[in-house]
């Protein structure tokens, strides 16, 4: 990360922490914001966040490691999360998983070299009556078939350059 980018992020962190009176209840919203804008929470960011909340960086790290939507490793611009829980499993998630790996040329848990896509399994998405279900960032897809996978992926590829955020956690 460029020094200026870090400074900017740090300023945002301080501002958000202030909004929460530096109270710890603001920690996760700040982490969600950082995850959204920089696609991971770097050691430097953790340091800045810890300072802003006057807690030890290890505390911050402990929280980050607990939640599956927060990560210390840099994720792709688009995180594809396929449900692997029972109803989607019975509805054919395995074939969808296979096709996702083919289209993206990576395995689950990996990120494409161009930093565009991360492929992950996730647990029940609350779409069990319309499985297999899948999230791409915050967009939900139901009744996904192997045939549809390529179109879905392409629709994100084509958004390259467009302004994309993962959500509005702020």
């Amino acid at each position: 990360m460029l020094a200026s980018e870090r400074d900017q992020l740090k300023a945002e962190i301080i501002k958000m922490a202030k909004k929460h009176d530096q109270h710890r209840s603001g920690l996760i919203p700040v982490l969600q914001h950082v995850q959204n804008v920089s696609r991971h929470i770097s050691p430097e960011a953790m340091q800045d966040i810890a300072e802003a909340f006057k807690i030890h960086p290890v505390e911050v790290q402990g929280v980050v490691s607990f939640y599956s939507f927060l990560s210390t490793e840099k994720k792709g611009k688009f995180i594809v999360r396929l449900c692997r829980t029972i109803s989607c499993d019975m509805a054919g998630k395995e074939a969808v998983a296979n096709q996702l790996e083919n289209e993206l040329d990576i395995e689950f848990g990996e990120t494409t070299d161009d930093g565009m896509f991360t492929l992950e399994f996730t647990n029940c998405l609350g779409m069990c009556d319309q499985g297999p279900a899948m999230l791409v960032n915050e967009d939900i897809y139901a009744k996904v078939t192997p045939e549809k996978v390529a179109d879905i992926i392409d629709s994100y590829r084509n958004r390259f350059g467009a302004h994309v955020t993962q959500g509005e956690h702020a």
């Binding site: 919203p29 609350g126 069990c128 509005e168």
Partner: protein
């Protein structure tokens, strides 16, 4: 989807504004009495009487109190809260205002799971609209009562649906369940008295207060009053959300959803029980087979061992790791299931695994570890011969 097929209680018509205004005219104790009279129990799974919870929070000491909506819906096979959050958000907000009034809270929080971020925009718009109509915020419907709600996003952890873990998470910590007592009704969010309720509970309470406990009790059984939403998925013709009276038999439910040929039904999600065909006369109710609403249908050709493995993988993944019976127990049970899958598990070891499961049920700190072995135990008990026969390595 079949949700609008029948309009019993939750899906019945209601004028939200009128209902809320009527409710706020009533003295607080009357409001809680009506809910008590209805026999409403929490719709999030644990089935704790709602009026008791509200009464405890109301009588707890504290200037600041909170009402929290548990919208973390993560139990495998459950999606009825998603439908409510999408199409019945106004009723949810009104139900929360009503609860705030009943317990004397000014602040409400909707804890929305990260996976449902796509619902947030609509929810925010609903909150804003309700503020505009003076049904939320200061001086609600002209009364000297204020209550506002904000949304807090989860970050992807099933355990945060457990109410004390949810509070830990709100306070900026790892979502690790707390020791109880104290219960959140006395020491909850930020140490203040807090009532945590499920989405469906708030909405049901709104209908009860408006239309009466007596009307509500025309549905259901003596111990499980009213109706409930069921999220139905798996091997059936018509999966979706259904509103059905409590006490309905599994057989009847299967007829409704087109799953008559099922060989087993998982009632209550991964934490629930697997009910085999021979027991389909059993009733879905707190006094018989209990559920937060998840119904997963297994057709005649399903491999029940694969089902058990999928559930146990879920628990291994989602255990917060705080206590040993759960952390190691889920792993050991999963290894056992893998051994069964390879046809390499002795019956002696299988018995040991079952007794480990029983230990977990009593020794785990929270509901996750206590219920993680349920599916394992019921599947092993009911499908042992199927499992052993299909994995025999001696043929």
């Amino acid at each position: 989807m079949s949700k609008a097929d029948k309009k019993l209680v939750i899906f019945s018509d209601i004028d939200v504004e009128k209902a809320l205004k009527n409710a706020l005219q009533k003295p607080r104790p009357d409001l809680i009495s009506e809910v008590r009279e209805s026999g409403l129990k929490g719709r999030g799974g644990a089935g704790f009487p709602t009026a008791v919870k509200w009464n405890l929070a109301a009588s707890a000491q504290g200037d600041r109190k909170f009402v929290i909506c548990n919208a973390d819906e993560g139990e495998p096979g459950t999606f009825k809260d998603r439908v409510l959050l999408t199409d019945y958000a106004e009723q949810l907000v009104a139900g929360m205002v009503l609860a705030g009034y009943a317990v004397g809270a000014k602040e409400g929080i909707i804890y929305l799971r990260a996976e449902y971020t796509y619902l947030r925009k609509n929810l925010e718009a609903t909150l804003e609209k309700m503020r505009g109509r003076k049904l939320l915020g200061k001086k609600i419907s002209g009364k000297d009562f204020e209550f506002d709600i904000h949304i807090h996003m989860g970050s992807g952890a099933y355990i945060c649906g457990e109410e004390t873990a949810l509070i830990e998470s709100l306070e900026g910590h790892r979502g690790e369940p707390r020791n109880r007592p104290p219960f959140p009704v006395t020491v909850g969010y930020l140490g203040c008295p807090t009532s945590v309720n499920n989405v469906e509970t708030f909405i049901t309470a709104l209908h009860i207060v408006e239309k009466g406990a007596k009307w509500f009790k025309t549905y259901g059984t003596e111990k499980s009053t009213g109706t409930k939403l069921f999220s139905v998925s798996g091997d059936c013709d018509k999966p979706g959300v259904y509103e059905l009276p409590m006490g309905i038999t599994i057989k009847k439910l299967l007829e409704t959803v087109g799953g008559e040929d099922a060989k087993a039904v998982q009632v209550g999600g991964a934490s629930g029980t697997c009910v085999p065909r021979k027991d389909f006369d059993r009733a879905i109710a707190y006094e018989d087979v209990s559920t937060g609403g998840s119904i997963i249908v297994f057709g005649p050709f399903r491999d029940m061992l694969e089902v058990a493995i999928n559930f146990m993988e879920f628990f291994c993944d989602e255990s917060c790791g705080q206590c040993t019976p759960c952390r190691l127990g889920t792993e050991t049970l999963l290894e056992g299931l893998d051994m069964l899958d390879e046809g390499k598990c002795s019956l002696k070891y299988l018995r040991e695994l079952c007794s480990l499961g029983e230990t977990m049920q009593v020794a785990s700190k929270c509901g996750l570890g206590q219920s993680a072995p349920n599916a394992f135990l019921s599947i092993v008990e009911n499908f042992k011969s199927e499992i052993l026969d299909s994995r025999c390595t001696c043929r």
